[in-house]
């Protein structure tokens, strides 16, 4: 569907992205992780041709977007803030967008507005942060795009609204096979939504992984010992998620029988093997260094 080939971009002399390549398939939700300033938003803006890449190409269904911008009728970018929407009501925005996106589905937009009880008569700037995000999503989905680029869609909203926003995205993908490229700081959101994730670090896209496979790779073990084994575990470079007295929680690759044997040789009184979440995998993979 969308393919980024060897994308590089420097802004004011600073290299932001270097040789980034990525392919997102139909119906896939791809999570882009990275610290502030790592180039996540720049990558989305490059895809949408708001800014131009210094080198590399971006293809949508094999068509280069820069040369054929009309294919952007199939791609919607939802930034963190959209000042253009501010002075308009829902109806006015629909009126503008349906002339730009030929596939814009007013009936579907109305249905989503009713489902999420978003006020239709208020101007966008008068809505709460959560409602703004929801309205932006409704308008994005109603344009019937094949790919949606979401920049921090759950940033600054409460848990209930976040749940609604995520559900809206999940439903859309399930019903219409829309692809989504999402950036977020929230690992739990990424974990809940994405099929694959990638990490922007040092200008490059690294660790592009299938989320389920990734979680299958690791196992979390809760153990209890008679004695203090902290040093012994650390000497083996086993990531320790938690220690409370004689209770230890560690993370190891599922296939690492050597480390598992070592832990068993320490004669734990309790041994519980548990599934892991994304944050724990990251701690294991990146040695506890916070990178998101």
């Amino acid at each position: 569907m969308i393919e980024l080939r060897q994308l590089s971009k420097a802004i004011d002399g600073n290299q932001v992205l270097k040789d980034v390549s990525l392919t997102i398939e139909k119906g896939e939700i791809f999570g882009l992780l990275g610290r502030n300033g790592s180039g996540k938003t720049t990558m989305l803006r490059l895809i949408q041709q708001i800014i131009f890449a210094d080198s590399g190409t971006i293809l949508f269904d094999g068509v280069e977007i820069k040369k054929h911008p009309k294919v952007k009728q199939n791609i919607i970018y939802m930034p963190v803030q959209n000042p253009f929407y501010d002075k308009y009501t829902y109806k006015q925005l629909v009126d503008i967008l349906r002339r730009i996106y030929p596939k814009f589905d007013v009936t579907y937009a109305n249905e989503l507005m009713n489902r999420y009880e978003i006020p239709e008569t208020k101007k966008y700037r008068e809505l709460s942060t959560g409602l703004k995000k929801q309205l932006s999503l409704v308008l994005s989905f109603a344009a019937r795009p094949a790919l949606i680029l979401l920049d921090e869609p759950t940033d600054g909203i409460d848990a209930v609204t976040r749940h609604d926003v995520l559900q809206l995205m999940v439903d859309e993908v399930a019903e219409r096979d829309t692809s989504i490229l999402i950036t977020s700081h929230r690992l739990e959101d990424i974990e809940r939504m994405c099929n694959r994730i990638g990490f922007l670090e040092d200008n490059r896209l690294t660790n592009v992984m299938d989320l389920d496979e990734l979680k299958e790779e690791y196992i979390k073990i809760q153990m209890a010992f008679d004695t203090d084994v902290n040093l012994a575990i650390r000497e083996q470079n086993i990531p320790m998620l938690d220690q409370a007295g004689v209770f230890y929680t560690v993370l190891i690759p599922k296939s690492d029988e050597e480390k598992k044997s070592f832990l068993r040789e320490l004669k734990p009184k309790v041994w519980n093997e548990l599934p892991v979440n994304l944050e724990e995998v990251f701690i294991a993979k990146f040695g506890g260094k916070r990178r998101w």
Partner: protein, 328 residues
Amino acid sequence: MVDRGLLYREWKQNQVVILLSIAFLVLANPLSIVNTYLSYQGCLDRQDPQYCDFIVNYSISNLIDLNWVPGVILAVCFLGMERSKGTMDFILSLPYNRSQIFQTKFWLGGFVIVLSQLIGFLLAWLLILVYSPEHVYFFEHSSVGVIVISFMAYCLLMAAGALTGSVFAQLLTAFAAAVLPYLIVALPVGNFEVVFGVNIWEMFPSPEAYFSLTSNLLYLVPIGYVASDWLIDSKYILMIPAAMSILFYLIGLISFKKLPSERNGHFFLWNRLDRPVQILVMAFGILGFGLFGYYTGHSIIGYILGMIIGAVAGFFVSYFSIYKKTKV
């Protein structure tokens, strides 16, 4: 070239400004006639008819002399405001190429300026037929000339908006470009006269030749057209602002297509312009303040002091305006 969806977006975004511009440009010309007529009627009420003349003369101060102002405001709304408010990103994300975006904005404004004034011209012409003044001077020349000049001002502001990243930068760049030909010629000549103790006009065969040349050169300075001196010269003088319009349009189109939009908020979108323009501003500061220093006391000390002050002022003005990014 111009997309309807994009055109509608521009219309919705700038509805109020466009309507006010149309209203002003349509009414300015007929209101000038009405104003002259009412003055004539007032005169008739107060004085004997033999002392009252109903003459429509466009060479004296007229409301249409301000017709360039809506063009400036429209161009600022189309480009500078979009960059300053952060709405430019939304437009660039839409399924259009940059050429289409610029052309849509440009021709929307262009048609507002030209068509509104043509309607105004037509209404004024009808009023002249109805009122039948004793004499009408410069009506066609002035009305058409003002259309050309206001379009040039609009093109200049659009070009400046395509080169710069904020409203302030757009206005300052447009003003600087509007006076640039004058500064490039007059400041070095003025300084030459001070340093070598000569008068340039003495080098000409006659003072008339000198003044003829300078007055003709003034037509190359865009800001010179704000005054209506061009009206008493040849009609073909208007070919100059027409040619300038084409030049500014091309500069705007190419700049909008090629320059990086990630520098919104910076003075120039193309950072390679920063240093040369800073040097130019400092040079003008040195030459301008030097002349000012010299003419306050007619001394070379004043001249040198002026130059030093000009260098410092030029450096700080250029540094803070060009290198300090405004918040977007």
